[in-house]
């Protein structure tokens, strides 16, 4: 209760509070992208030949591709040669313990509200923090290792578990998947790797915090999560960036694999810098997230709260290959000022009795454009597939846009597919009603918006739900009235 109070208090003072820059000695390679840069990144990370070969193949494919233009987005041309593709907090050796981590860096994470030390001691949440391109510290590694759970940075995984990485890397999102997937495959710097062995329920939430700090850099991380038979894991991802006048590029890939009866919950609170109120600056967020329910009766659930970024282009998807497998997508996407979001999901039903649920809540304010784009594909052999989609849009101004692009491809007549969509507006009457009871307009908007998004927010783990509620309110500050 006190927490909610704090949330409301914060609404009245909130701005983009993650907009600070940490003064850390950072190693940045010169801007530009060519084969030598790809080789340089690979060598900086002491990668094996097979990984370099993978990167080079991806790069050579990427140069043949045009930037995709099918989304409902206005993106100025991006000069991919003006970006630095690798930035890392400078260090001699990888930190062995928290004592060896640059204190400035730890202070940054403190400011972000993720004190690693505290996390280790108290909260029972394992955190991998990625600053610019490099994974800084993974907490709780030892404790998890006892259960056979692997949770480490992607680079470490490449060295310590090469067979696993090689087996699963690009198995869900091949480098040929799309423009940004190819780019990421060529230049990805770090990210997180998770492996849950057979029959293990991961006892704590695993979490990665991504932070872009250095200027003129792009961030290209890669996350790979594998849950073996009967395993369970809940994974959280958070992101913030400093306020900068220029646009910064973020192009990540997340691949998740669920084997027989495994369940993976993936939650995101995306709060990259959205640009200022005139639309200057902000992160371009082009992300490919896809999971495969490989095994029978497996389940993958995506939950996302998207409040940040100048441009968001992401479609966390599920391939329901195993019979009786389940895919879920719960999304709240908020756009304010000049933000643009084109987000949604793909549910690809391959197995029998597969089931998918889509709940998308778009909230548009200011001059923003907010699109839901989703595909439900029922293939020929997917007997008795079920899908329920619900796409709601809430408009807070008369200058913003909300769009819904549902695609359905149904090739099996036993399928039951439902699609519901609503569009609503916060009315002046609702606001005045709240005002009359003593609730200010800002708080009323926060209350109504959080009520509207409740169905999705309830899917978030507790720790995230509170932060996400705050974010919703703050992102919409000044958007009504």
């Amino acid at each position: 209760m006190q927490e909610e109070k704090d949330i409301l208090d914060e609404v009245t003072t909130g701005d983009y509070k993650y907009g600070f820059v940490t003064d850390i000695d950072t190693e940045i390679i010169p801007i530009g992208l060519n084969e030598d840069v790809v080789r340089l990144i690979s060598s900086k990370k002491n990668e094996p030949q097979w990984l370099l070969d993978f990167r080079l193949k991806a790069f050579r494919y990427w140069v043949t591709l045009p930037m995709p233009e099918w989304a409902h987005l206005q993106i100025p041309e991006i000069d991919y040669q003006s970006i630095s593709y690798y930035a890392a907090p400078r260090k001699k050796e990888g930190p062995k313990s928290l004592d060896e981590v640059d204190p400035e860096l730890l202070k940054t994470f403190d400011k972000l509200g993720i004190s690693l030390v505290e996390q280790m001691a108290l909260s029972g949440m394992a955190v991998d923090a990625v600053m610019d391109s490099v994974s800084v510290k993974t907490t709780f590694k030892e404790k998890l290792a006892e259960m056979g759970v692997i949770f480490c940075s992607f680079s470490e995984a490449v060295h310590d578990y090469p067979d696993l990485v090689q087996k699963y890397l690009a198995s869900v999102v091949p480098y040929r998947d799309n423009f940004y997937a190819a780019l990421n495959s060529a230049v990805f710097s770090d990210g997180s790797f998770v492996y849950i062995p057979k029959g293990v329920r991961c006892p704590m939430e695993l979490s990665t915090y991504f932070r872009i700090n250095a200027a003129n850099t792009g961030q290209f991380e890669r996350t790979l999560i594998v849950a073996d038979d009967d395993a369970y894991v809940s994974y959280l991802e958070g992101c913030t960036a400093p306020m900068r006048d220029e646009n910064q590029l973020h192009a990540a890939i997340v691949e998740i694999i669920a084997h027989d009866r495994a369940e993976i919950k993936y939650s995101t609170v995306q709060n990259w810098y959205p640009g200022d109120k005139d639309g200057k600056g902000g992160i371009y967020n082009f992300v490919t997230k896809r999971g495969i329910c490989k095994g029978d009766s497996s389940k993958i659930s995506w939950t996302q709260v998207e409040t940040g970024s100048a441009v968001t282009w992401k479609y966390p998807s599920c391939i329901l290959q195993g019979d009786n497998s389940v895919g879920e997508f719960y999304s709240v996407a908020v756009t304010n000022n000049h933000q643009q979001a084109d987000t949604g999901t793909k549910m690809i039903h391959l197995g029998k009795n597969t089931k998918s649920t889509i709940v998308s809540k778009g909230i548009s304010a200011g001059f923003s454009q907010n699109s839901y784009r989703g595909l439900v594909r029922i293939t020929k052999n997917a007997e008795n597939a079920r899908n329920h989609s619900q796409c709601d849009s809430l408009l807070l101004s008369d200058k913003c846009g909300a769009h819904t692009f549902p695609y359905m491809e149904i090739n099996n007549e036993t399928a039951i597919v439902e699609h519901e969509a609503t569009t609503s507006k916060i009315s002046e009457d609702q606001i005045f009603y709240c005002n009359q009871r003593g609730i200010s307009t800002e708080d009323a908007v926060g209350l109504i918006v959080n009520g509207y998004a409740k169905e999705v927010m309830n899917k978030l783990p507790m720790e995230f739900a509170v932060e996400a509620q705050k974010l919703l309110a703050i992102s919409l500050e000044g958007s009504v009235g």
């Binding site: 209760m1 609503s424 005002n435 009871r437 959080n450």
Partner: protein
């Protein structure tokens, strides 16, 4: 009793207000003291609901002239939420639905805003739930209603009871009941009116806006005013309401030479 007569709560002087450029209120004068119940009656379109909206601060209406003082403060300077925290409560004629926002959450936010205004700490969870339980009984409001979204799917009668429930929770100094009787059957009317009466004290005042005498059988006013074409054209004791019930408004129009 004597002292309170000198104790002004609400003082409206020559109040004019427009909506969309059209003048609705054309010089209202009214004084309300603690402990008093005033009824404002009048034919459709006379400005009754506008008066309640203007007092509550609905931004749709523009005050063009006059002043309103509430407990010595210039009411027109205050934002609607500040007026609420100062102790003005409006029971809406058409309470709006707010999907997704539970009554519990809504009321807790409102109560805590009032407490913050008075520089008090937020109410504890257990105290709040106790208060909800206690005040629900005032209007015989179902526990289930309290856990639903604000007014969503409520019947007409439930919405009105919910208004009085909120009034009980916020304990206003001045309650404005805007056609609280409209759309109520006789049982609901009794429950709502009893609720209002239970909340009455010598420290608070009530402004009852209504078309009909029947609500005034339950909530007994000391003063009855007739609002016509944006002005109070007649003020008297409770007998005026009975007269209006009997004769309608035409005789007043005649008196005014229309």
């Amino acid at each position: 009793m004597k002292r309170r007569k000198f104790n002004l709560m609400l003082e409206i002087k020559n109040l004019h207000a427009n909506v969309n450029g059209k003048e609705i209120l054309r010089g209202i004068n009214l004084t309300v003291r603690p402990g008093e119940v005033h009824a404002i009656m009048g034919p459709n379109g006379s400005g009754k609901s506008t008066l309640s909206s203007v007092l509550a601060g609905n931004p749709v209406f523009e005050v063009t002239e006059g002043e309103v003082t509430f407990e010595g403060k210039n009411l027109l300077d205050l934002a609607p939420e500040e007026r609420s925290c100062e102790g003005i409560f409006l029971s809406f004629q058409y309470p709006v639905e707010i999907p997704g926002v539970s009554m519990v959450n809504f009321m807790r936010t409102a109560i805590n805003e009032h407490r913050k205004y008075k520089k008090q700490e937020p109410i504890s969870a257990s105290d709040f739930l106790k208060l909800m339980r206690e005040k629900r009984e005032v209007v015989e409001l179902d526990n289930k209603l309290a856990s639903r979204s604000v007014n969503e799917g409520f019947s007409g009668g439930e919405k009105k009871r919910n208004e009085i429930f909120q009034m009980a929770m916020l304990e206003p100094k001045l309650a404005i009941l805007d056609e609280t009787d409209s759309g109520l059957d006789i049982d609901a009317l009794r429950i709502v009116a009893n609720g209002v009466n239970k909340l009455k004290s010598e420290h608070n005042a009530t402004l009852v806006i209504t078309h009909y005498q029947r609500l005034l059988d339950y909530i007994k006013p000391e003063f009855v005013h007739v609002l016509y074409k944006g002005k109070i054209v007649k003020s008297a004791g409770p007998e005026l309401a009975l007269e209006l019930e009997e004769k309608g408004y035409d005789w007043i129009k005649k008196e005014l030479g229309e």
